[in-house]
């Protein structure tokens, strides 16, 4: 009797937990979509705010976030991939490599507000970038590095030694074998890691708070050396700092919905990359 019941209890527990998680996910999504959909319109995403944020759209925040994410990618991707290649392919597995790896893993756990402070003192002040798009992009780039390094290393590690040996055995140098065989094979995993990391970075508020984000700017997304608007911060301001919170609530939900869509599109891109490569 007990033996027969056990599978049902195990199965039931798992199902219950999965169901609970899905329930909250759906509630959150529903909450944002239902309250935000009404403010979503072509005008909302194509015009700047008006009348002290109580009207108009969020165009500068969208372009700000998109540009910022691009800069983050430009900063974090080359360094992250190079670092991962070095750690996984070249560094011997000794205590110093392990120390570096542990340090990187710990960096991933550092609260993002601390990156903000660090970016403020390094990029904004010491390197004289001022509070600007580049300073914020560099800060987010730093924040993304440990994730990109870790996921890239993971992707490289999944490529079997026999693939590397195949290239070496026909006279490729180690560098050629990595560039021509290992990296292309690991690319789907690497890209997935990058895109997921970027979609996290796009939603960060704390690191850009000290380094360049502004509540409101007049000119729609100025130069890289100027302050900018961004979706997550805009959302934060609308929902907590505005003088007419109740009035702008629909706009806040609309902003949240747009941010979700941006992140969702990035995730969709990651999914597409994996799908395309799984067919090869």
């Amino acid at each position: 009797m007990k033996k027969k019941l056990a599978p049902f209890i195990e199965w039931g527990t798992l199902l219950f937990c999965t169901g609970t998680v899905c329930f909250f996910l759906v509630v959150i999504l529903w909450d944002i979509v239902s309250k935000g959909a009404s403010s979503l319109s072509w005008g909302f995403v194509s015009t700047p705010p008006a009348n002290g944020m109580t009207q108009g759209g969020i165009l500068p925040a969208i372009t700000g976030t998109v540009l910022l994410t691009l800069i983050t990618a430009l900063v974090a991707t080359p360094f992250g991939i190079s670092c991962a290649i070095y750690l996984n392919e070249y560094a011997s597995d000794n205590w110093s490599a392990r120390l570096v790896r542990a340090a990187i893993r710990n960096l991933a756990g550092v609260p993002s507000v601390i990156y903000g402070l660090f970016g403020l003192s390094l990029f904004v002040q010491a390197m004289h970038m001022g509070t600007s798009m580049v300073a914020a992009g560099c800060t987010l780039g730093l924040l993304s590095l440990p994730y990109i390094i870790t996921t890239t290393e993971e992707a490289l590690r999944r490529i079997p030694a026999s693939t590397r040996e195949a290239a070496l055995a026909i006279g490729a140098t180690q560098f050629e074998s990595i560039r021509d065989v290992v990296l292309p094979a690991a690319l789907p995993g690497i890209l997935t890691g990058i895109v997921l990391t970027l979609s996290r970075a796009a939603g960060e508020t704390a690191p850009i708070l000290f380094t360049g984000v502004a509540f409101y700017i007049n000119s729609p997304s100025g130069g890289l050396n100027q302050e900018f608007m961004a979706l997550p911060y805009h959302l934060y301001m609308l929902s907590t700092q505005h003088q007419a919170i109740e009035q702008v609530r629909p706009l806040a939900y609309g902003t949240a919905l747009v941010l979700l869509i941006v992140v969702f599109l990035l995730n969709l891109a990651a999914f597409y990359i994996r799908y395309k490569h799984s067919k090869k």
């Binding site: 011997s92 597995d93 195949a166 055995a169 026909i170 006279g171 021509d180 292309p184």
Partner: protein
Amino acid sequence: MNSEHIKLAARNVDLWFGAKHVLKQVNAAFPQNEVTALIGPSGCGKSTLLRSFNRMHDLVPDVRIEGKLLLEEQDLYDKKASVTQLRKRIGMVFQKPNPFPKSIYENITYGLKINGVPAGQHKEIVERSLKESFIWDEVKDDLDKPAMRLSGGQQQRLCIARTVALRPEVILMDEPCSALDPLSTLKIEELIIKLKEEYTIVIVTHNMQQAQRVADKTYFLYLGEVIENGPTASIFNDPKQQLTKNYVTGHFG
């Protein structure tokens, strides 16, 4: 018998992985245009010996090799020798087929590219090496298809084609059929016998029948030592050592 030309040789080779002594005073000589089989129980060092000829241990930390490994008269571990040049002369086919995750065509041309073969010759070499490897008829219409879609046996023949495309002098094969079905195995064996007209072949195999079918000479290794070697027929039918006898009659291994 005395006139045979020794292509590849190991002289008093010792090899350690860390503190583990894997090859012990190994002496071997592989004659040109012959197939030599390395047999012995798992873990006796067959792969290790084979891989020391094309310096596949170079990237393994704390490996130590003593003694001499020679291609013709050239010391393979000479500090001045270019390891990539060397690997072009000594090709290798692995246990598990490992085509590149590229198209069939690119699997062959990649080696040509990195070895500086002019692009004008690629097409012709692709066709020739695929024909040499008995796979041309099966893939000639699908050269742009990913190599990973081929069957295991086809992949292995593609790997052989990739190797012969570079016109090596020696081909090392590490249990090339162990992951294949009997029919593919037969095809590869035919291929090996054909290839020895042009190349010197050293093959590791677990399969006694296979050794007898393809090999002219056989080396029997046990715990990192060469116990006995000679013409394949005499190793199998008239072994001098008790260990060899036990192994070839299937009493252990």
